[in-house]
Structure formats: structure tokens, C-alpha cells
Amino acid sequence: MRIIADTGRCIGAGMCVLALGEVFDQSEDDGTVVLLDAEPPASMAGAVRRAVQLCPSGALSIAETSGGDQDAAGGVKGNGD
């Protein structure tokens, strides 16, 4: 899976960081989301989905990458690592 973060929509609530600090962080300047790992391993998929679901502003979305290098929803490429 690949996480897509829209910092323009982000309101810096910090819900993603609270839910999954290994993957999400916040900018020191304006508190908006910083992805520490935009393509987290499949073992984290459930936790990533829960964190994305908690986002209050709809700034986070997931492009699924099934198996290898197939195109996912939204045409985003990822290696599915």
C-alpha cells in the first residue's frame, strides 16, 4: 500500500501520529502531516487503515498496490513492499 498525504487539507490534529507514530509525524512549522514511511509493509496495513480513518480532515488516503507493481486506484504506483 501507498499512503497519500494532502498537506493542503491537513489541519494538524495529530490523530495519525497518535495512532501510528512509526509511519506519521508532524511538521515542526505548521503541524501538518509528514510521512515517515509512505509505503509501509503489508504487516502494518490494518494499523495504517485505522490511522487514515481517524484523520478528521480527509487529508490521508491509501492507494492499494496488490502484490507486485500493478497500478492501483488513482493510478499510483507502488512496490507493495
Binding site: I11, G14, V17, L18, D29, G31, L54, P56
Partner: protein, 399 residues
């Protein structure tokens, strides 16, 4: 449509049980989670009690938070509503792009990491207040000795507001948040607070210190008026909300000894317990309130442009479709996803500060006083049904 079963109702505030929302809300949530609501000024709007609809509306940019577009669901709240019309800096009541501009200036100060850095100081403040309680001995009012002063001192230090002036701003804040205040009282309290914080802002500009207001004065192009508005908003929001969670939360734990023991004895449970107490108690017991900017259809209901929607997050947080056994306090459950801090772009700016304060204060209190108990019969604890933020007016305890 199911018009026959959904005649307009008025928003109830009276509770049968101090921790449960007014009973009618649960009934209505089951019947029709989006139902017509009669507003005191004659407006016909809506009341949302279902979790899914509440969350959807709070996140929907077609709903505005602008005070001049809203009808208040509670007649007594009219004074508060009217007193905050278009004040510079009160971004809680603004839509984008104005809201975005103000909020962006502040979000960097309330990140998870920043709040983590405050932990040692919050622990120290908590310890000081527990020491003072121990010296004074019980019975004591936990609200005055613990629940109010801790978040009040924390937000003062963060903003750079002298805590010695607390009597003034705590009094003004309580007038502003009382449903019994007249418009004149609200206007006077607001003006008093704005005058006081206006002076503070000018002082911080002249002689900056290491605090949030000085930082905003130095690093942004905010006018004195805007900065005063922001400071007022943050000062009020920063202590009334957490204070009531600490008071009401402790009361709820005292009434549920097994849950209390878990929070006291198991550090692993504290994080979940804070979320669960936020969900179960939902101190934001009126609203939030939004106005439709255009016609919006949600779950087969057509909300027309201009209609006001009151979203009962208290009822939504008890929706069995989202939380199993929602009327049970279960501090071990994962309760995240509750709507107590709101949802959408206005979700509470200070929520990570509130979490940090609660995660420190509840277990510290319960560990210091393992024999903590009510010093009056439970039915004598005065509940804040008459305030914008729910909670206990006083909590007499001993140990």
C-alpha cells in the same frame, strides 16, 4: 419519507442519570438519527444523533460554523451565540479560508511531539497540587483543588498569561459558559477578558518572552485585535474543557470502582481509559451546531440551504452501531474514533494537550490517594446541566 413519526422536537438537557445523555436522545437515535428539531426562535432545523451522520456532517464543507448563519438550539445560549459574532481571531466560528489562515499559525504549537515535551512540567504541576491536597487534608473540593487549577496553570504557562490573574479570567470564562448568563453579562465578561488580554498582547509585543503569545506576536502578521481574539479563545478552551473532564471523569471512576482500580493500577490501560472517558462522558453536551450552505441530502433526508443542524456528539458517542455496549464505561476498550473533540477541520486544536493532561492527572490522583471517595452522598454532587461544558460544579472528596 417517514414524516409521520418525526414531528419536530426540542433539544433536551435534563438527565436522569448524571453520566448518560438525556434519555430522549437514545430513543430518537433509534427512530431517526437525523430528525426535525424545533429551534427556540421558530426556525425548523435538524437534530443528528447517529454516529455515521454526525461524522459525515462534521467533515462536510457544505456545512458552515459561522455564527451569523446559525440558530441556537437552546434559548439560554442565545447570549453566547450573539456575543461572538465576527470577532477577529475567533477562528472557531469561521469557515475556510479565514479559518485555515488562523489555525495554520497555531497547529505547530500543539503537535503530539510538542505536547510530549510538556509532560515533565505537567507532571510537576500535578504533583504540586497533590502535595497541597495532602497538606490541606480532606474533605476537599476536587474541582478547586485539582481539576480546574492544573489545566488552568498549564494553558497559562503555554500562552504566557500570568496565573496570578486567574480569579479574573476564571470568573469571566465561567460567565461566558453559563447558560444562565444574560446577554449583558456575557458582553461584559467578554469585554473584560478582551481588555485584559489586549493589554497582555501589547505587553508581549513590547517585551517578548518564551511563550506562545510572544511567538505569534513576533513571527506572524496578526494584528493586536486578532491575536487578542486567538488568546481569548485558547485561554477559555484550554482550561474549561479538560477541567471538566478531570472532575467528571474522577466522579465517574469513583462510581465504578473496578474501572477506577484499572486506571490506578495498570499503566497500560490509561491511554484507552482517557479515550473511553472522553467518549462515555462527552462534556460537549450541546451541539456542535452547523448551517447548510447548500441543499445536502444525507441518509435520505434533504437538509436545505440555510437550515441549522445540531449534532449531538453525546448521543453519537453512544451509538450502538459504532460502539458495542455503548452505555457501559469500559476503560479497557479502544474508544478512539469518538467525536468528543469533533471531526472535520474544526476538530479540537488542543486535543493532544488535553490527552496529555488527563493521562498524567487521573492515575497520579488515584495513586496518591488510593482511598479516594466521595465526601457527600452521590445525589448531592451538583451537575453542570446549566453550563455549555458539562461536568460537576463541585466534587467533595476525602481519602
Amino acid at each position: 419519507m417517514t414524516e409521520a413519526t418525526t414531528h419536530p422536537v426540542t433539544l433536551p438537557l435534563t438527565r436522569v442519570h448524571p453520566f448518560d445523555p438525556p434519555e430522549d436522545l437514545a430513543l430518537w437515535r433509534e427512530e431517526d438519527p437525523i430528525r426535525p428539531l424545533a429551534y427556540p426562535d421558530g426556525h425548523q432545523g435538524w437534530l443528528v444523533t447517529g454516529y455515521a451522520a454526525a461524522r459525515a456532517i462534521l467533515a462536510d464543507p457544505r456545512f458552515s460554523t459561522r455564527i451569523d448563519l446559525l440558530h441556537t438550539p437552546i434559548a439560554q445560549r442565545d447570549a453566547q451565540f450573539r456575543s461572538t459574532v465576527r470577532r477577529p481571531g475567533f477562528f472557531l466560528r469561521m469557515d475556510p479560508p479565514d479559518h485555515t489562515r488562523y489555525r495554520r499559525l497555531l497547529t505547530g504549537q500543539f503537535t503530539v511531539r510538542r505536547m510530549k515535551q510538556l509532560e515533565p512540567r505537567i507532571e510537576e504541576i500535578t504533583r504540586d497540587h497533590l502535595d497541597a491536597m495532602e497538606r490541606a487534608g480532606g474533605p476537599i473540593d476536587l474541582v478547586r483543588a485539582f481539576a480546574l487549577p492544573i489545566p488552568s496553570l498549564v494553558i497559562c504557562e503555554l500562552l504566557g498569561v500570568p496565573y496570578d490573574d486567574r480569579e479574573k479570567f476564571q470568573r469571566d470564562s465561567s460567565v461566558l459558559l453559563s447558560l444562565d448568563s444574560t446577554l449583558e453579562q456575557v458582553e461584559a465578561a467578554m469585554q473584560d477578558l478582551l481588555d485584559y488580554l489586549g493589554d497582555l498582547v501589547r505587553h508581549k509585543r513590547a517585551e517578548p518572552e518564551d511563550d506562545l503569545v510572544s511567538g505569534l506576536a513576533a513571527d506572524t502578521d496578526l494584528t493586536d485585535e486578532e491575536l487578542t481574539g486567538i488568546t481569548t479563545l485558547l485561554l477559555i478552551a484550554g482550561h474549561e474543557t479538560t477541567a471538566n473532564m478531570l472532575g467528571l471523569g474522577t466522579y465517574a471512576l469513583l462510581r465504578n470502582p473496578a474501572q477506577l482500580a484499572a486506571v490506578r493500577d495498570d499503566p497500560e490501560v490509561v491511554e484507552h481509559a482517557v479515550e473511553e472517558l472522553l467518549r462515555y462522558l462527552t462534556v460537549v453536551h450541546i451541539g456542535p451546531v452547523r448551517a447548510a450552505l447548500e441543499d445536502v441530502e444525507i441518509d435520505g433526508r434533504l437538509i436545505r440551504a440555510g437550515e441549522t443542524v445540531t449534532i449531538s456528539v453525546a448521543a453519537a458517542n453512544r451509538d450502538p452501531e459504532r460502539f458495542s455496549e455503548p452505555d457501559q464505561l469500559d476503560v479497557a476498550r479502544p474508544a478512539s474514533g469518538h467525536l468528543t473533540f469533533g471531526h472535520g477541520i474544526h476538530q479540537c486544536l488542543g486535543q493532544q494537550l488535553a490527552r496529555t493532561e488527563m493521562r498524567i492527572a487521573y492515575p497520579a490522583l488515584l495513586r496518591r490517594f488510593p482511598g479516594l471517595r466521595l465526601a457527600v452522598p452521590a445525589e448531592e454532587v451538583p451537575m453542570r446541566t446549566d453550563m455549555v461544558v458539562y461536568g460537576v460544579h463541585r466534587l467533595p472528596v476525602t481519602w
